[in-house]
Amino acid sequence: MSHRDAQIDGGVSKKLFCGICEASCGLVATVVGGEVVKLRPDPEHPNSRGFACSKGIAFPAVRVDPDRVLQPLRREPDGSFAPVSWDVALDDIGRRLRAVIKSHGRESIGVYLGNPNGWNYGAFLSLIGLCAALKTKHFYGATSVDINNYWAVGQLLYGNNLANPVPDLHRTDFFLCIGANPVISHGSMINVGRVRETMLGIVERGGRVVVVDPRRTETAELFEHLPIRPSGDVWLLAAMLKVIFDERLQDRRALEQMTRGHETLPMLVRGIDLDRAARETGISVERITNLARDFAAAPSASVYGRCGASLGPYATLAKYLIDALNIATGNLDRPGGWCFGRPMLDTEKLTALLKLSGYDRWRTRVDGIPEVFGTSPMATLPREIRTPGPGQLRAMVIASGNPVTSGPASGQIEQTLQELDLLVSLDPYITETSRLAHYVLPPALWLEREGMPIFTQSHSAVPYAQWVPATVPPPKEVREDWWIIDQISKRIGVVPSAAPGAQLLGRLGIRPKPSLLVDMVLRVGPEGDLFGLRRRGLSRKKLIANPGGIKLADGLPTAVLRERVHHKDRRVHLDHPVITAEMDRLLASPERDDPDYPLRLFSVRELRSQNSWMHNVPKLMAADRVQRLRIHPQDADELGIDDGDEVEIASRHGRIIAPARVSDEVMRGSVGLPQGWGHRGGWRRAVAAGGSTYNLLTTNAPSEVDVPTGNAVFNGVAVRVRPLVTAKEES
């Protein structure tokens, strides 16, 4: 097909991978005269094997979007933006940052790293490097929305934030999937090509897939669906672990051989009352018990939880319990169980070398929240801007981030970002966030720069290596993020690198590109060519010559625990005071819901949306898609809500409006709403799509987020819903 396409279009086929979501699907681009005329799935890609979704295929529209920012923009006093040259923009940014440093110190400059940097190793390393060079604790990111719990547990259990085992779906007999919708999301913290087919394959070979979710999701519809109240997951996991220890179903040998501190596990869940767990989850004691027994009895099994299990007030405890269940049933590091990936680039060693990996080495200035992966959580951002004193946040660079939509208590983020002395945004669009910036600087898109999937390559079900050249050159006045960050850094006298000796080299005028560091780590790493000593090994040059990717193995490795655990004793550490404290906090939490806000809100992922963007692509907005609140027919009936009615959704923190979709896809007592709507700024189609900001309903109070990590709480938010007509009459 691609051969015929090339003939018809007179174009050239180029292989690459999709930089939109964690599936990182292999793609083939047809390029004609410097333009990408189409993107198609690559049937030869080792992991995605010919799969791609409608978002990836539609992406060339972003490149040529009439609303795309194509030159540096300076915000004028009236709020409009005026194009300026790179020199004018960068020099003024440098001058203003120097002024901030002079009056407040380097540590008053902050950085925000948005999700798309996970496919942009140059930006990722430069942003980390800038923070390291500034010695600032104001390093924020989308990670503190839904993944700080993973990073913290990775460090505690396995000794590195990025040491995160994945479920071995190709071989498992029992997949317990909690708060994840892989058929729609295509996987997060797992990277399984053709994930829908792979999951169906588990059932076809006689295994089971149980999907635990408040909503009968597109994934749940295909398998056994176990509805659960939003934020009930931590109770389910703890109760299952208790059943396993009470009934002596644990794998003692595995616990003794692989771990340290396993004797504390039964003590940890001792206080769990199964009857309360049943009330908290909406799942009967009998079903919880049977699920635990079946899970323990399966020849191989893995429990995995993603956003649903990561957006509650006990996200770190929930993630710990997920790993504990896998470990206690002997499923860690065995075929069909909970396995370590085989990354092409050892990001665990890399982040350890850069002193990035870690947990609770320091705490945030205002709220005293433990750092995770060298970062502060977004929950504290508004207070770090508003609270005077040494280290007060005064200037920020936001890279591919939209915290005005995606951050907790987003109204406060929007207000306080405007109080900064300087805000710089690297973004292809004028978004609700970048419109607040003094400068918007246009970065190259993934089609326009060299790429290596630095974040997702550790989670691939089929381990592979890929490094692709730019498919097409960027527009004339558009620059790569790492270059922009380096130029800003130059103007304040630092090198944006966390590598040892980088600042010293910088003083000698040597500023190596991020690709050099990554190539070095690759070449001396487990898959590297050792600079020629290992003939079959990898290097950047070799991979770029094979842009379709190179398969490293047919499946996930097993029996590699001792190589993959970073603790000195090579054992998984299970005994942690912070986990015990979280269990105490859970057990002490009041059981009764707030009668004024009786429903529990949770977030819904949609096929044609990606976090807070992609709503400006015509093809993805067909049929005038709108954001809708899913509500159960009985709840709707009691509240006098008909399908399509505008309703007010109110929490203790704010209120928004959305049309209702009355559907029994959600369980009674819970309501589901997609995030990432309610845009403002210069992306006209996204703005015209309307909708409301989910995060006006959420909080950033340090006692109400995930306490050990500051991770946001977007699920299980107590809300009340009423028809808008009634709401108007009363107010």
């Binding site: 993107l39 198609r40 799969f51 949609e606 096929l607 044609r608 049929a623």
Partner: protein
């Protein structure tokens, strides 16, 4: 012999746009489009023009008698969509 949409479909709906007889559903303005994981061809209306095959970005559409072995059941799946939606 009508055409059939099989497993690779990503509901990109390029086929819907090119179909001269509007036999591919759900269309973007129909209920169920937002959740649709794939599109379906109504065999009673398909005129075998092959326009959708050309338009499909993921090579998901086949003549019914040329369906790959592993996706044979999709002929029934396409028919089933119209029966259950009362459009047959």
């Amino acid at each position: 012999m009508p055409y059939v949409i099989a497993a690779p479909c990503v509901a990109d709906y390029s086929c819907v746009e090119v179909c001269p007889v509007d036999c591919i559903h759900p269309t973007p303005d129909e209920a169920g489009f937002e959740q649709a994981e794939q599109m379906y061809i109504n065999p009673a209306e398909c005129i075998d023009c092959e326009a959708c095959v050309e338009a499909c970005p993921v090579d998901a559409i086949f003549a019914a008698d040329e369906l790959p072995e592993r996706w044979l059941q999709y002929a029934e799946i396409n028919i089933g969509y119209f029966e259950s939606n009362g459009r047959g």
